[in-house]
């Protein structure tokens, strides 16, 4: 039960929960108390002494930020002594502060400036020489340190300790010589390092990419979201003179609290890359050459129409994107279905049937054990990684990581290193142990004991390379802590996952690496589903959408992406419209397939590897240059708002699709004529979407607002299911297995185009276990050739025990062409080149 206590602050009474600090109680009364070291999301240290107040019956002044209220407490924040103390602290701070506000990035949003203005004295009594310390010392690629401005509040130190658990900063020296620094001057490497910039109350830590680009008051600030992974962190995009200059975290306790990962914080500047496409391109004489929009749209529309008419609509295919907004995806499938007349619509990374979203980005906080089934959240969704760390640090949550590559967060538990493709077998061995563990109480136990009898730890260890001891440790965590959160990736086999939930409860979810996988699916970018999920074979749904779109819709299911690509080579698919998807870097065999097309149109921000193959390239706006909605990996609906106008000559993808329709219908640009394709804004498209998609019915751009909207999801009861695991068998000549994943700073589109991320982007590196390198004479840095039955690529080797022996690991975008299927481990051979 909640105990309330009554306190009086400056004569005003308030009842607050027991355990509240004086500072928070005062906040409730609207009484301002200045602070420096206090930060709501960090453990209080009471160090700066800025918040001292008088408390009756207590000797001396008390720090409001750490003193808990007690029944009947009488607090005064406005006595002469308190006022004098504040002035004193500020005077002390300023004695050695450089006061270089005119050239300080923090100017205008600096706590020190603001508090001196509000609570400080007016004259300086300090006539001594100021202390000098290092002025511009980089702490890694993103954070610049100015030691003279530092007020030693320790927020930066504490953040790295308390949230990501990367204690890379500390105070060095002492007294007046104290400085904040890294150990041995190493660069900061925490994936969340940029948050210290937001946290620093003064200009001691500033952003290297943003430095000197603008004064804070010149910035146009737009609440929006990050679209560089599936987490959808809330942020504010700051622009000056239509240039997007900075992203800062924005509070949303259900998503990112207020933090950003460094990819999201610094990677948004890809929109300013000088490689942006700013004009449509048409292939002429084998070369892509600039063209006008009218020309390009008319040409594209006519060619697609011709091809569809000479053969049939089903030779045309449309590829949407988990990177594009709901609005763009919706229009794309509407174009395919209503204008072309085909259900050939799909996108790369579509959640498979049975996949579930996470209950929330913060789900790790509610887990006893986080089970990583072949995924590494640090690459796929860094914010989920942060929540796992936070859960481990504050709640003792354990991590059980199953897969060929060791995730950083496995330091909070155990890594079950196994050969790629054997993750399910390892999970089966865990089920084997749990079904025989007396701590586990579930009706499913008996069934599972039977189903898993072939998966005794030693047998599985032999077949997968996992260690028996690690298996036992993992089973122990699971049995002791219960409520697992299983995070899985694209190729996961869900049956053993369901069994785990049947034994222990908890939840499982697909760690969607892209910002809008669930949205694209919900928008009907699938060969068999309309927006909202109704089947294309459902006559009622077909009728209803047919009416809404004023078209006769095809009753035949379309081709899924893999079949489309296979179909290209056989002439089953002849023309394709690809919107904001770099298929060549993500999908095996895409390059080959797209080359055989008669006609390819690509809409994207860059001349991606995919766009290079196109006949027509249409430049589209980035999410920060238009409005749009996205569904994150927890199916939270959020708005990415327009922070800048797109570069001249660039249109939002949704508009490009609408324009393509106009061009096909031979209309000129005069709007207003009776048409289903007259959209002035993305909001209009959204309104249309809500009419067809029941779950969105209540949502408008206004109700989604800046906080987003999370539909209620009912937890379904899981039934245990029997399963069988197949162990991959290496074909002759291909002794190693290649696993592909995503790095924190991937060379994938669009991160690869970010100037700020350029120095840290994951190179074309192949991780090789030293054991596998030995016999092949491979050393770190060597150029190596890795080849599968499908092809070969050259990469730079890095020897590491982060991967299991027998496995090589690379980023998907470097090796997509080698894979047998997306998310599928592939047998390869390796040699020095």
């Amino acid at each position: 039960m909640e105990v309330l206590v009554n306190v009086t602050i400056d004569g005003q009474q308030v009842s607050v929960r027991a355990g509240t600090t004086i500072l928070d109680a005062a906040k409730q009364l609207g009484i301002p108390i200045p602070t420096f070291c206090y930060y709501a999301k960090l453990v209080g240290i009471g160090a700066c002494r800025m918040c001292l107040v008088e408390v009756e019956k207590m000797r001396g002044l008390q720090t409001a930020c750490t003193t808990k209220v007690q029944e009947g407490m009488v607090v005064r924040t406005n006595t002469p002594e308190v006022v004098q103390t504040r002035q004193g602290m500020l005077e002390f701070l300023l004695t050695n502060h450089p006061l270089d506000c005119p050239i300080c990035d923090k100017g205008g949003e600096c706590d020190l400036q603001d508090q001196v203005f509000q609570f400080g004295g007016t004259v300086s009594r300090y006539v001594e020489e100021k202390r000098h310390k290092a002025k511009a010392k980089p702490l890694g690629p993103f954070v610049m340190k100015d030691e003279e401005r530092c007020i030693l509040c320790r927020r930066c130190i504490r953040f790295l300790e308390e949230w990501p658990g990367d204690p890379e900063l500390d105070a060095f020296e002492r007294g007046r010589n104290t400085v904040v620094d890294t150990f041995y001057g190493r660069p900061l490497t925490s994936p969340f390092s940029g948050n210290v910039i937001d946290l620093c109350p003064v200009g001691a830590l500033t952003s290297i990419p943003f430095r000197f680009k603008a004064r804070s008051w010149e910035l146009k600030r737009t609440p929006s979201i990050c679209t560089l992974c599936g987490a959808g962190c809330n942020l504010t995009l700051d622009a000056k003179a239509n240039r997007l200059l900075r992203a800062v975290g924005r509070e949303n306790p259900d998503v990112n609290d207020e933090w950003l990962c460094d990819r999201g914080r610094f990677g948004q500047d890809y929109v300013r890359s000088d490689q942006r496409l700013t004009s449509p391109l048409i292939r002429k004489d084998g070369q892509l050459q600039p063209a006008t929009w009218d020309e390009a749209l008319a040409f594209a529309a006519r060619r697609i129409q011709d091809i569809a008419q000479t053969a049939n609509p089903d030779v045309v295919a449309a590829v949407g994107s988990a990177r594009a907004s709901n609005e763009a995806n919706y229009l794309l499938q509407k174009w395919a279905r209503a204008v072309v007349g085909t259900n050939n619509v799909d996108f790369a990374g579509r959640p498979a049937d049975g996949f579930a979203p996470l209950s929330s980005v913060t789900a790790p906080l509610r887990a006893g054990v986080v089970v990583l089934l072949g995924v590494d959240p640090l690459g796929d969704a860094p914010m989920v990684d942060l929540w796992i760390r936070r859960a481990a640090l504050t709640k003792g949550t354990r991590v059980v990581a199953i897969g060929p590559k060791r995730p950083v967060v496995s330091r909070y538990g155990v890594w079950l290193g196994c050969r790629p493709g054997t993750e399910s077998a390892v999970l089966a061995a865990l089920l084997h142990l749990l079904a025989r563990d007396e701590r586990v109480q579930a009706p499913a136990k008996a069934d599972l004991a039977g189903w898993t009898k072939d998966y005794a730890p030693d047998r599985v260890a032999e077949a997968t390379g996992v260690s028996v001891q690690a298996l036992k440790q993992a089973a122990d965590f699971l049995a002791a802590k219960g409520s697992p959160l299983v995070l899985y990736g694209g190729g996961a086999d869900l049956s053993p996952v369901r069994d785990l939930l049947a034994l222990l409860g908890g939840e499982a979810g697909y760690l969607a690496p892209k910002p809008n996988a669930w949205g694209a699916l919900l928008m009907g970018v699938a060969p068999d589903r309309y927006p909202g999920g109704a089947s294309v074979e459902d006559a009622k749904a077909r009728d209803s959408f047919g009416k809404q779109w004023d078209a006769r819709l095809s009753p035949r299911k379309g081709l899924a992406l893999a079949d489309m690509l296979a179909g290209c080579r056989e002439g089953i698919v002849q023309a394709m419209l690809v919107v904001e998807s770099d298929l060549v870097r993500e999908h095996p065999a895409a390059a080959e397939a797209l080359r055989t097309l008669r006609f390819l149109v690509v809409v994207d921000q860059f001349l991606t590897a995919t766009a290079e193959l196109a006949d027509v390239v249409l430049p589209s706006a980035a999410p920060s240059e238009t409005d749009g909605t996205f569904l994150n990996l927890a199916k939270r609906l959020q708005r990415a708002a327009q922070a800048t106008y797109p570069p001249k000559g660039v249109r939002p993808a949704w508009r490009v699709i609408a324009d393509l329709v106009d061009a096909a219908q031979g209309k000129d640009k005069k709007r207003g004529a009776e048409s289903h394709w007259d959209y002035e804004t993305a909001a209009e498209i959204w309104r249309e979407i809500t009419r067809g998609v029941p779950v969105c019915r209540e949502c408008t751009y206004e109700t989604i607002g800046t906080a987003g909207w999370q539909p209620e999801s009912a937890a379904e009861k899981v039934k245990p299911v029997p399963f069988a695991v197949e162990y991959p068998v290496a074909p002759e000549g291909y002794p190693l297995t290649l696993a592909a994943g995503q790095a924190l700073f991937p060379k994938a589109t669009p991160a690869r185009y970010s100037p700020a991320l350029a120095p840290v982007l994951w190179g074309d590196v192949l991780l090789v276990h030293p054991k596998d390198a030995e016999g092949r004479g491979i050393k770190t840095g060597d150029a190596v050739r890795v080849a599968s039955a499908r092809g070969a690529v050259e990469l730079k080797a890095r020897l590491t025990d982060e991967v299991v022996p027998g496995c090589v690991w690379a980023c998907l975008e470097s090796v997509a062409a080698l894979l047998e299927a997306p998310d599928k481990a592939t047998h390869v051979k390796l040699s020095r080149s």
């Binding site: 209080g44 009471g46 002494r49 001396g60 103390t85 602290m89 007294g175």
Partner: protein
């Protein structure tokens, strides 16, 4: 002169060796404590003796022990041998000459507090003392006074000697704990107090070397013996370290409430070269200095408090005529700004500022407004710093301005130090 108690082994050849210690009656109190006392009864005994902490603050030891939360284990005991307060060197004498006396005191105190792991945190500069202690600890283990089942009592104790790395703040109890835990030594927020949440977040007893050293004598001779000396509020014996302008500086053992004059004239041989005394710092560098008019003050907690200063660690520094007070205070201020850990604004910035002003005055750059400014800075540090180090820095500054204002003004007027030719 009375028979020495605390210093009884000092000067005895090989007094640091266990054989000698035992020949002279050592480890008898331990036997008695283990045999005749339940832990709670020992806590009660020490409470009744009125033994106050000798590290500076004078908090009653038995009362502190009784703050340990019931039923929470493990508990730790840390013996504070950081002895950082300028002027203080009594713990050093005990450690170097009578290490077993300290160890015996620690064992009995641990038994009383139900502690099975204890530490001696010794200042880094005391390398010799640390080695002596380590040898003595080994000897005590070898004889079964430490380790498992001590003297068949079923009581276990491990004792670890940990050397500091040279920071005054590591003598402050929470600073010592962070240092002991392997972190940079800096004070921690109280509450929670170490007694409830200290080392490794477990209940922890922290006592000064001299405090613990008293315990075996109290066990042997009883609380009444202890309270028969000194005053009601300051019972027992105290070690005084006297230094500065006296003929026989050193450590002297006296009952509390012995007049300051007795210490200086009867024990320390009177002022050096017969020079008149100009000022006395009675309890370590942080205690406000007093003038010779107070020479008859009894050296106990309450009498010194009554004249606006403190008994502190019992370190008496005598300053003779001819010494520049500004220079003296400048040097002390330099110590405090050097030792400020830097965690809180008032101490970090204020001690630096005070030193800079004092340095300027001493070197001829003083201004009249500097005196009120310094007092103002003191007010902005005093009671506002995170830990008592900030307050400690103010004693010399405030008291010297109070007693020697004219000397400051002379520096300012003459734009030079009048004591330097």
């Amino acid at each position: 002169m009375a028979e020495p108690v605390l210093l009884r082994n000092v000067g005895v050849p090989d007094s640091h060796k266990i054989e000698v210690y035992m020949q002279r009656g050592g480890y008898q109190a331990l036997r008695k404590a283990l045999k005749e006392f339940q832990p709670a009864a020992l806590v009660d005994l020490v409470k009744r003796s009125g033994l106050r902490g000798r590290g500076g603050a004078g908090f009653p030891a038995g009362v502190k022990w009784s703050f340990l939360p019931k039923g929470v284990y493990p508990r730790y005991l840390v013996c504070n041998a950081d002895e950082g307060e300028p002027g203080t060197f009594k713990d050093r004498v005990l450690i170097e000459h009578d290490p077993h006396g300290l160890i015996e005191g620690i064992i009995i105190s641990c038994y009383a507090c139900e502690v099975n792991t204890a530490f001696i945190y010794i200042r880094g500069e005391y390398e010799f003392g640390a080695r002596r202690l380590e040898q003595a600890v080994q000897e005590a283990y070898a004889r079964g006074f430490l380790g498992k089942n001590i003297l068949g009592s079923g009581f276990n104790l491990d004792l670890i000697v940990h050397r500091g790395a040279g920071a005054y703040i590591c003598g402050e109890e929470t600073g010592m704990l962070t240092s002991l835990e392997g972190d940079r030594g800096h004070p921690k927020l109280k509450p929670p107090f170490p007694a409830s949440e200290g080392l490794y977040r477990k209940p922890t007893v922290i006592n000064n070397v001299e405090t613990l050293f008293n315990v075996p004598f109290i066990v042997e001779r009883g609380a009444e013996w202890y309270t028969s000396m000194g005053t009601e509020k300051s019972p027992g014996l105290k070690l005084f370290c006297i230094s500065g302008h006296v003929n026989k500086p050193g450590v002297y053992e006296l009952p509390l409430a012995t007049p300051l004059r007795t210490l200086i004239y009867d024990y320390a041989g009177g002022p050096l070269e017969g020079k008149p005394i100009k000022a006395i710092i009675p309890g370590g560098s942080s205690t406000p200095m007093i003038t010779p008019e107070h020479l008859d003050v009894p050296l106990d907690y309450e009498s010194l408090a009554a004249i606006g200063t403190m008994l502190g660690s019992g370190a008496v520094v005598v300053i003779g005529e001819g010494t520049c007070i500004v220079r003296t205070v400048e040097r002390l201020a330099e110590f405090y700004r050097h030792e400020s850990c830097g965690k809180c604004i008032p101490c970090r910035e204020g001690t630096d500022w005070l030193y800079k002003i004092l340095h300027r005055i001493e070197h001829g750059g003083g201004r009249e407004e500097d005196l009120p400014l310094m007092l103002d800075i003191c007010n902005n540090i005093g009671g506002k710093s995170f830990c008592p180090l900030g307050d400690a820095a103010l004693g010399p500054v405030r008291s010297s301005i109070a007693h020697f204002r004219e000397e400051y003004l002379q520096h300012i007027r003459e734009k030079r130090c009048p004591f330097q030719d």
